[in-house]
Symmetry: C3
Subunit: 293 residues, 3 copies
């Protein structure tokens, strides 16, 4: 039985999970995505030198999840490009973010309170995409649980999973890392979300889909808004993950309590260096994109 | 109403646009394409060391546009390889260009007057491919204007768009550039051609398709023959593009008139360094392929 | 008429060619494949740091041939992932090879006599995959001989053909070489096997398919067991290939007899340096994977 039904929230969640994403939520998704593209080092120079490459990158940022899911399911990868209105809207956002006189649009949407609202709206779209991806794969492969998880994961993570190739389009090549080797919080959350939605689709989770969408959206929106507001990139999963990985895969533990390691040179917990590195890169991104303006 | 009808050229253009491409035009396409492959630094060594890799590269040069368009539309990427005659013809050309005793075949087809004719014939095929690509996408997505443009573009540009991966097959990796970041003249022309053919397919251009094919072919053949004859790589679009990009995307202008930049160190117009670099590389290519013989 | 019928082996070969591959042979395939993954430098570190990346690599090693063939034929690349049992079995093998306490499982299966049996069983699966790939392509393209050869080749070679991208997933990038430029013995044998099975499917080879599967399996199993036992990587095709390539493609001959090259510095035959290099790398692999344990 539904947990939230007890709190009489069932109807709210059904209404919420049926709400149309276009245009408000999708617009927020495009704005935040292209904002992140502008943060990338070198993206502004590319937009001046080769507008076509910049536009393609922006489309990958906005529609990467559809493209990837279509590739994964073996259908036309640019199938989503038949929705001319969506493409034109994303193109307008790309133009305004990169070429607006006095950089006005960018300054508006990068203004923290506005950005926080947009980030929250973006996470609403992400949760929906994961649910839709899992549902779509379930429709094609009734018992293909792995296919459902992979499709939902890909729908939630989007361009992050092909960031190496998106960077290549801008002339940047960083083979030593990728989003699978070093998962960021949204990618991890998409993976866990995809697993949850797959369990729900397989009737192994005693909640309705609308409730799951609602709860997952709330969790994602809260986490991302908090992380954006505090410029933090630490993951709420860090502690649990650290222990599970240690037990299952023998990974080094965050805290050194069970190794009794006396070595003072490398006692850093597994989670915090990642956080520090990403905070640094966030700082660098900001500085670089400001210089570029 | 048709512009060329006034000049009584309508029937000629219809006849021209229905002419069979196989075998004469296709043969010219294969010869010129594989000639360009042989110009690539290292291609001759690869052909000696690994004939399979060399053959695959040659097939990518000849059929890259079909492979890419099939990928883009989500069908079997090697679908075109069912045409055994085409593959065998291209294989024969590849063999003759790379392994003919005394390099006789290469010397014949690289002889400037012959090469100019072949280059002109190749552009006939390119124009047809763009039109066919746009038409094919129009058939699948009636209002998918972006899909039509992308398909036509990909059909016209062919292997150039995946040159990074084609080079990787030969053990060469140049991530700092790609065909989208630095578009060559044929790639740009394919993009503009795809836009024109899409407008025509959407009945926004008051010309018949056969006329458009005819005019576009004439323009491409003339431009490429002129550029091949003069070893030039400057684009006829350079001036217009420079102004449009400056107005729309704030790109640096070719001429420095509106910045009143006093700096004498970097007054080079945007178009000419590209030209110079490509002329140089053309020279290098020639020298290297001569040494390799 | 069938050659083996004379020896009354016809029925045996039919029985052999109809034998179910799951679970015994498939299990051997997964074990040997993931063993090779563990030999790769850095694979053990990746398995500690990012189990998801390690699992994905393991899946590519086990199911790369299905994924590639599906891509080549334009169907859902993760279609095979609907077979949950196979995926779970491969996942269990991956877990045992990488995370088994005391490394017990790895030590068992890497023990030479056991490994030789597993290697032989793996080759049985490879021969079947090539035959199935050619047959599948023949079903879709009745006269697409090139498509049949490519599909069979891809089904036999599997992950080797995309090793560059599989390495990229683990943060390793070696663009200067790839499996097409420097074919290993199984890749070459898969190519020749695909050609043979295509000829058989086109009725140009006077043997039944079951006989061909039987003979090819015997050849592959014997060769691979011998090569694994002697740590050799020299190919049985080396001499014939060297002459054919010299005649057809002007490649340098293994023996220097027809060049009368007096230079004593580089008289090494073409086959032996490859062998030596690969023997070395085999040694390095072993040492590294032992250190990593």
């Amino acid at each position: 039985m539904d947990v939230l039904d007890v709190l009489n929230l069932g109807e709210v969640s059904v209404y919420f999970s049926k709400m149309a994403m276009f245009p408000v939520f999708d617009l927020a998704y495009y704005i935040v995505s292209i904002l992140y593209l502008k943060y990338e080092p070198g993206a502004v120079e590319v937009s001046r030198k080769s507008p076509v490459a910049s536009w393609l990158c922006a489309m990958l940022y906005c529609f990467g999840s559809y493209i990837l899911a279509d590739i994964i399911l073996g259908v036309c990868p640019i199938d989503y490009f038949q929705h001319n209105t969506h493409i034109l809207l994303a193109t307008a956002v790309w133009y305004l973010v990169f070429y607006c006189p006095l950089n006005l649009f960018y300054k508006c949407v990068a203004f923290l309170p506005i950005k926080l609202v947009l980030v929250a709206l973006k996470e609403v779209v992400r949760a929906r995409k994961i649910a839709a991806g899992v549902h779509h794969a379930h429709h094609a492969y009734h018992h293909g649980f792995f296919i459902m998880i992979i499709t939902g994961y890909v729908k939630g993570s989007g361009v992050a999973l092909i960031s190496n190739f998106e960077q290549l389009l801008r002339g940047v090549w960083k083979p030593e890392t990728n989003e699978i080797l070093n998962m960021s919080f949204p990618t991890k959350a998409s993976l866990y979300g995809a697993i949850l939605f797959t369990l729900q689709e397989a009737h192994l989770l005693p909640v309705s889909k609308s409730t799951l969408i609602c709860v997952f959206t709330l969790f994602m929106a809260t986490s991302k808004v908090f992380m954006t507001a505090t410029h933090s990139h630490g993951s709420p999963f860090a502690l649990v993950e650290s222990w599970v990985c240690h037990l299952l895969f023998g990974s080094a533990l965050a805290a050194s309590d069970d190794h009794h390691a006396p070595a003072p040179a490398a006692p850093a917990p597994a989670a915090s260096p990642v956080k520090t590195k990403e905070e640094l890169s966030e700082g660098t991104r900001k500085r670089k994109s400001k210089k570029a303006e």
